[in-house]
């Protein structure tokens, strides 16, 4: 499994997590190169459909990162993220995926180090889980 190089998608909200990722960059914090960030305005604009599609298409893991609860640029936007992602995770679990392939976390604009930690841990976790089995089972 050592040559497994996971493909990971991350949705980052513009105001906190994308800025946190920028800070990680400015601080030259090193992390594995498997995560590809899609910028959205609010984590709550991330449709469950995107995540389900990505997993169905063989993406190995999906991260959704937003502002901490209470700090959302859109007041209560991320409340809905906090409620939506667990449902997506459970659904994936119900059909036999490992729900750890989807992770929700909060990274503020000041948390470059947390961004690095979340990315590093998530990549490790996905490496531990192995490749997304969807292509094999659906073929």
């Amino acid at each position: 499994m050592s040559d497994f190089n996971p493909t990971i998608l991350a949705f980052c909200c513009n105001w906190c997590s994308y800025a946190g990722a920028d800070l990680a960059g400015v601080s030259r914090l090193q992390m594995p190169p498997n995560v590809h960030v899609v910028r959205v305005m609010c984590s709550a604009s991330v449709k469950g459909e995107y995540i389900l599609k990505a997993i169905s298409q063989g993406v190995d893991g999906v991260l959704v990162l937003g502002c901490h609860i209470g700090d959302c640029h859109y007041m209560t936007g991320n409340h809905r993220t906090a409620k939506r992602i667990p449902v997506v995770q459970k659904l994936l679990k119900d059909v036999g995926f490992d729900e750890r392939r989807v992770r929700l976390d909060w990274v503020s604009a000041a948390e470059g180090e947390k961004f690095q930690r979340v990315i590093t841990e998530f990549v490790e976790e996905i490496k531990g889980l192995g490749p997304n089995p969807v292509r094999e089972v659906m073929s």
Partner: protein, 261 residues
């Protein structure tokens, strides 16, 4: 006029004061929905056909400019109606319910946990089923095996859309699953996202009528998939669809004092 027809007409027009009665009727060996006005012969009314009258009602509702409609409703139909009322898609004052308690066989077919209508006009209330055996069997499996099970099922799908067309709580006119935005596979079977997204969309509104499963020509156990997610949503939010007074937890803010962060 059959006894059943007479009884239904009497409940609808005399007891409930309806202007119309929506029910299923057998004619020349076929069973089809029928809309009756007061005084019309109901004919051979059938109640044993598991059919979503609410779904039929939703199709004709825009053309019914006035009047009250009595409709035969099982418990699941009542809950489907609640979802319509919640979204202000039906005027609750215009829909009258003739409660039908499902038979033991129907309850068993749906593994139904909530089979008794608010008020039973017809039928004998039966005991609820405590569990769905397939759900339990699947969740006891190792995840890889469960994934193979569902992959096998989903690969049988020929994208006929019977599940969405017969679903009473699919409110959309056009279905996004027909587009390639989220289901990019051009042919059949569709990719897994087809089934996952449909399940996700129903997470906060499926009333477990089982119509998707019954109508599926590929015999995919779709009701079990619904039941699995319904259980999760109930566990996470204490929410179950089918009550117009509640709002989907997926749309609202967190409870105060929540420590998610």
């Amino acid at each position: 006029m059959s006894d059943l027809g007479k009884k239904l007409a009497s409940i609808a027009f005399d007891e409930l004061g309806a202007d119309y009665l929506l029910a299923m009727r057998e004619e020349h060996g076929n069973v089809a929905p029928v809309m009756l006005a007061r005084g019309q012969d109901p004919g051979e009314i059938r109640l044993d056909v598991p059919y979503q009258l609410v779904n039929i009602l939703s199709n004709i509702y825009p053309w019914l400019k006035d009047g009250k409609v009595a409709v035969v409703t099982r418990r699941c139909d009542e809950k489907a109606l609640e979802e319509f009322f919640k979204r202000e898609l039906f005027d609750p004052r215009r829909i009258l319910k003739i409660g039908l308690a499902c038979s033991k066989e129907q309850v068993a077919k749906c593994r139904c946990s909530d089979p008794v209508p608010a008020k039973t006009h017809i039928g004998e209330p039966q005991k609820a089923m405590e569990k769905d055996e397939l759900s339990e069997k699947l969740m006891a499996m190792p995840p890889e095996e469960r994934l193979r099970f569902w992959a096998y099922q989903f690969k049988k799908c020929n994208k006929c859309f019977a599940c969405t067309l017969t679903c009473p709580v699919c409110f959309c006119d056009e279905c996004i699953l027909e587009e390639k935005t989220f289901v990019p596979e051009p042919g059949i079977p569709p990719g897994m996202s087809f089934h996952l997204i449909r399940a996700y969309h129903l997470a906060d509104k499926c009333i477990e009528c089982g119509e998707c499963e019954r109508s599926c020509p590929a015999e995919i156990p779709l009701l079990t998939l619904r039941k699995l997610l319904a259980k999760d949503v109930k566990e996470i939010f204490g929410f179950a669809p089918g009550d117009r007074k509640t709002v989907s937890p997926l749309l609202t803010v967190l409870e105060e004092g929540c420590n998610e962060c």
